[in-house]
């Protein structure tokens, strides 16, 4: 069995001038991976005829499945559709079911008159299979040539995802003998990448050829990923499970999560399993911890609410931090976060709470308190744990690091409370 490879081509000048960040490619790669397809190559090109043509030629030469996103809008900067018609030797025709669909959207959903430009969305090359777009007006298109498939999708993420999920992903296992790809991922904290590598070097050297180990450092933690590919899924699963158990044993001192879950999901799952709740009192993170706790579905089961006390007066008025604390040791102090954590836990009546106060930069530093200094406290009914950190990054990353560390401290106090 040969591995099935895919390429992702993203079309749009906005990607090349850096005006938008490409989140589509990651999602597509993840979904293809789940069904045994390896993405070998990702390419971004502008709205330029020759560059798109060349990208199609190059990807055709090296992979079996070519997914193209973007360049299908109703405006003049979009040239993908006529290009695909010519590339595959077809001509443009009006696709009546798509025209009906576009008309329906304008009449019944947008409730606006449809103009000529919108009707053009129903024009497609006559040699493609049209993939209906339930979420918008631009249809997807599927071309087949020499055992390869080419799929063109709109760049709007939720439209692209709908067409992939409903039309493309179900089709691939029917057309290709893809085999199976499996991953096992764990998260460590408190050990650097190099030291971790040193610790598990014998394990890594003994891995069979079809299983790879990757290190993914981020936010002061390191994720380890075992990836395997094989024709027999059950055999692969067993093999990976055994190796993963061994890996977990070897890093157990640093192990935080043994699933490929963001830390906020792991913490949420812990709380849900115990029917417990959390609140936050945030200064320097400005609501980011609350956002992370509430971004996933079902978070109302454990997240009660927050007091974002960006101004000191709010810390005094709503979180009972004493005026004396603020004027002597200051808002970025063990005293302040301890009080903030206790106050919000009581006033929101939750099992646990998180409080943070720090200097995220670039401004705000004093002689005693540099940019990156953060105090974090977590509280349960029985105790409050407070810890200071010195992050050395830019504002956004300092906020993210504060959040990740606060969630990890929350995780620890929950586990400790068993």
């Amino acid at each position: 069995m040969n591995k099935t490879f895919a390429s992702i081509i993203t079309i749009g000048d906005e990607l090349l001038i850096g005006q938008v960040i490409d989140t589509n490619s990651s999602w597509i790669a993840q979904e293809l991976n789940k069904i045994g397809v390896s993405v070998k190559h990702r390419v971004a090109v502008g709205d330029i005829w020759d560059d798109i043509w060349k990208a199609l030629d190059e990807e055709t030469a090296q992979t079996d499945i070519i997914i193209i996103t973007g360049g299908l809008g109703p405006t003049a900067d979009d040239i993908t559709k006529p290009l695909l018609a010519e590339y595959f030797g077809g001509k443009m025709i009006v696709h009546q079911p798509t025209l009906d669909h576009v008309q329906h959207i304008f009449e019944h959903i947008l409730k606006r008159p449809m103009i000529e430009r919108n009707a053009k969305q129903a024009e497609v090359p006559d040699n493609c299979i049209v993939l209906k777009n339930e979420k918008g007006t631009a249809p997807g298109m599927l071309f087949k040539r020499e055992g390869k498939i080419f799929v063109s999708l709109p760049g709007v993420p939720h439209e692209m995802k709908w067409i992939m999920t409903n039309h493309v992903l179900p089709l691939i296992p029917q057309l290709f003998n893809t085999g199976f790809i499996e991953h096992r991922t764990l998260l460590t904290a408190g050990i650097g990448e190099s030291f971790l590598a040193e610790l598990i070097q014998p394990f890594e050297l003994a891995l069979p050829a079809h299983i790879k180990l990757a290190y993914l450092p981020n936010f002061g933690m390191v994720r380890l990923r075992l990836s395997g590919w094989a024709s027999d899924q059950l055999v692969l699963k067993n093999e990976l499970n055994t190796l993963f158990s061994s890996l977990k044993e070897q890093v157990k001192e640093y192990l935080i999560i043994d699933e490929d879950l963001p830390i906020e999901v792991a913490v949420g799952n812990l709380l849900k399993a115990r029917n417990e709740t959390v609140s936050t009192a945030e200064s320097c993170t400005g609501g980011y911890i609350a956002h992370m706790l509430s971004i996933h579905a079902g978070s109302s089961a454990f997240f009660t609410g927050s007091i974002i006390s960006y101004a000191n007066i709010i810390k005094e008025m709503m979180l009972d931090v004493s005026h004396e604390t603020l004027t002597t040791v200051g808002a970025v102090s063990q005293e302040a976060v301890t009080k903030m954590a206790e106050s919000v836990r009581k006033s929101m009546n939750t099992h646990y709470s998180i409080a943070v106060s720090g200097i995220m930069g670039p401004g705000g530093a004093t002689n005693e308190k540099p940019v990156g200094l953060v105090w974090i406290a977590v509280a349960s009914a029985n105790k409050v744990v407070a810890k200071s950190f010195n992050f050395r990054f830019d504002r956004r990353r300092n906020i993210e690091l504060t959040t990740t560390n606060a969630l990890n401290m929350l995780r620890a106090i929950i586990v400790d409370n068993s």
Copy 2:
């Protein structure tokens, strides 16, 4: 004068399995653009020798500047450095200044013993110019060949950015006659992409060849970007300014911001200029509006704080939403958000406030209230404006759309308050 083109090659399996989102490429593209270099191509390849080699060959054939990120870590999955040595016909040597730097970091900053693996970070090909990495242990490397430059940078964003900013970007104008690229961007709301295109078609058709217009729809708004490239910056600036004025005039009914600023920055600037403040009372967005108001430096000048009332009991206790409102019309109602906005504005003593309550999905819908129904209120000293929305997307996007629309309503009430 010929345009100077660049390619960005991103190395790492994690990009191809979709485990991380590539934010580096957008940043690099933006920075290159500012100095007149057009990114023609972005490629992501895995940690596979042949694929990296092939990417280097292909990009060399079409651009002048090749920026490579990733694949420089101290662990076994990183093969970029030996590959570059071989690709450019050099051999690996120990670079003493880098070794000193790595040793210094371990001794004085990390305060951990340095191990052999870390010392390997100081090994570089003998035919490159080493670019010092003040922010980490992996140095950048610059190779020159046939009038082209190749730059290899670590994938950790703040390390990559530091080396680009301090070593690479200043060098490019010395080596290439890059010309100038200028953009003008504005943001519209309340009109779809097709209708906008219809409205400004004559303008678009009359644009000279070296100036392009792009439509960037996002979050229910459409951004319009004029981009020009020329050898004379002053002439280009004047030309773009004239065209941009004309464009603004044509879309004035829908114009929100006439700069390339995220809406939260535009709103923050408005508030700062007026010495005014804002607070938020958030339910369904769970702190995301507060986060957006506080993510940029200097936000403490206008952002006071928030009450995140994820649970209804918090709306009652801390935002004075009456028990009757919650049990009759419910938390997702005009009555509830109006009260929330008034209460938080008063208790935080701010000029303005935002309140939101809605059903972000996938759960939580009732017969009367579907997923995507959101009530938003903004308050000033004189009035409260409340509006309902029906977003039809997934949870994350519904949260983002709610935030963008809330910030736009805040902008409107500030402007109205002049």
